[in-house]
Subunit: 242 residues, 3 copies
Amino acid sequence: MIVLFTDFGLAGPYTGQVKAVLQRLAPAVPVTDLFADAPMRNPRAASYLLAAYAPWFPLGSVFLAVVDPGVGGERPAVVLEADGRWYVGPGNGLFEILHRRAAASQVFEIVWRAATLSASFHGRDLFAPVAALIARGEAPPGEKRPTDFARRADWPDDLAEVVYVDHYGNAMTGLRAAMLPSDARLVAGHRRIDRARTFSGMPAGAALWYENSTGLAEIAVNMGRATDALGLAIGSAVAVVS
Amino acid sequence: MIVLFTDFGLAGPYTGQVKAVLQRLAPAVPVTDLFADAPMRNPRAASYLLAAYAPWFPLGSVFLAVVDPGVGGERPAVVLEADGRWYVGPGNGLFEILHRRAAASQVFEIVWRAATLSASFHGRDLFAPVAALIARGEAPPGEKRPTDFARRADWPDDLAEVVYVDHYGNAMTGLRAAMLPSDARLVAGHRRIDRARTFSGMPAGAALWYENSTGLAEIAVNMGRATDALGLAIGSAVAVVS
Amino acid sequence: MIVLFTDFGLAGPYTGQVKAVLQRLAPAVPVTDLFADAPMRNPRAASYLLAAYAPWFPLGSVFLAVVDPGVGGERPAVVLEADGRWYVGPGNGLFEILHRRAAASQVFEIVWRAATLSASFHGRDLFAPVAALIARGEAPPGEKRPTDFARRADWPDDLAEVVYVDHYGNAMTGLRAAMLPSDARLVAGHRRIDRARTFSGMPAGAALWYENSTGLAEIAVNMGRATDALGLAIGSAVAVVS
């Protein structure tokens, strides 16, 4: 399975062109859209989001992950194998948290270049062909690098920020709920927010946080929009108190 | 065919994770996205919308339908078979109108539970596996219930409200056009609106209503946005006059 | 491969119903979403966008292209074969630029009508079945017309307007970059904009234009939104100066 994790946006031609490449090069491999709206031009926030969602997918999955504000510049193109899954994308920190949490990993720098490589769309011209190749079972077309290649050692293990806002106005943080004390409260938008197991039983309009279906601490307002009620967006700071 | 009808939103990881489950459990069954933006947290409006669209699909189709503000609470999980199509989702009224209009039906309460069942994402953990099972031709993993199980007898047969707003700013109502007098006018946003067969021939900016391609009465403004011109949104009241 | 190019919007049931038809009539043919947000009700702008993106797809691709404000009126339904690719949609100019740039072409008027043809959704009821037929290798169900059938000879070869705005706030124009002098500057939103090869190396907030990955001149602001910074939208005029 190839899994798409990008900031290409839902609209427009980018995801469609990437899928056309995958269809041509790996027609038998199913493709799943995970995020087309990963944190835009923000590989740091995206790194925590990707690390939360990736382990849910089957071993052998190939992630085509593109949050790449430096496309056309000097950042390397990389392949990470971590705990039996593959990740193809820019070497700008996007895979840092995955890499850090992996028990076993290896990293490659992609040295192959397409015959026609646009300056602005490596997702289509470089990363998609490489992902198709790996999904077909071939070796990554790159050179093995030491495990500290293109890393971001200064990033924290959990990120006390909003890293995603969903359709319901819920705000996912870069904090793993399992790493927080069971009675921890979060402070966001100048409000102290208690933990709850689920929405039901809470009064409408109440703010709460809970462990979401992927393990992240997520802030919500029952039958309302946490983003509006608390003034939250991707990048908003969150604090943990008890 | 499995058909998705949800309020998960277009963005974010929810539909992608559901599709990954379907791909794993029923890889040979094609999946169609019908609505990812069904009326949010509003199973009543969604019930009229789903009942309008479902009969267009082939017999044997399995609808994975999730508009589920009570997830994690006491509402049951159900499977409805109605006139040769299957519906899997929450027992909160979402299938009421389908059920009421069906000539033949049976209803099951889903008693199977996944080994790992999140509190907030039954679409992925409960309804998707059940839909995959049924699409593979297996029996629904539930117990048969009387036909008045989880019903909403107090809801009207047609709903005089806006139940969906599309990309063009057109407002679908929960009224079947065939149930209205041929000269009926609709009142919405303090305007009386005449019936027309189609857009062409109307002056730009004129408001009209017509039978849409699924049989619902739909309000539009030629070359404009009815939602903006008339101040309409999901839930706005509509009246029928002659 | 069938490629979808429409203004149906990302949301709602339209694309899903079209795909259900294609799945039923041509189940072995992969379907790619190129644009669901082509310029709304604007076949002229859409014509330049489609002509830029189509040649990137493999020979034999069938484009189901619907930007059709006159649906239900007098405009013909057409099939264009141009340089080995097929295009199915309304004869309202949407294929004008493709046709004009083609070395070899033939055009057909679709005379087949579905048993049940809605007045407002020819994408589902008329164009999708025809596209499926052609994708299966059958002859277009139409009558051959002279090459000046349903043309728009008065439209320019390149369009000095914004024809698409993407998720990053970049504004694509209807101008092919290869047709512009290498030192050309664009004027848009009362700003003179210099050409650049790529984003990297430009200061954050700087406006630039470049040849995008499809060959169009595209206006962007590094790490910002050109649409907001320059006040651009689909239809905004652009001028070329040196």
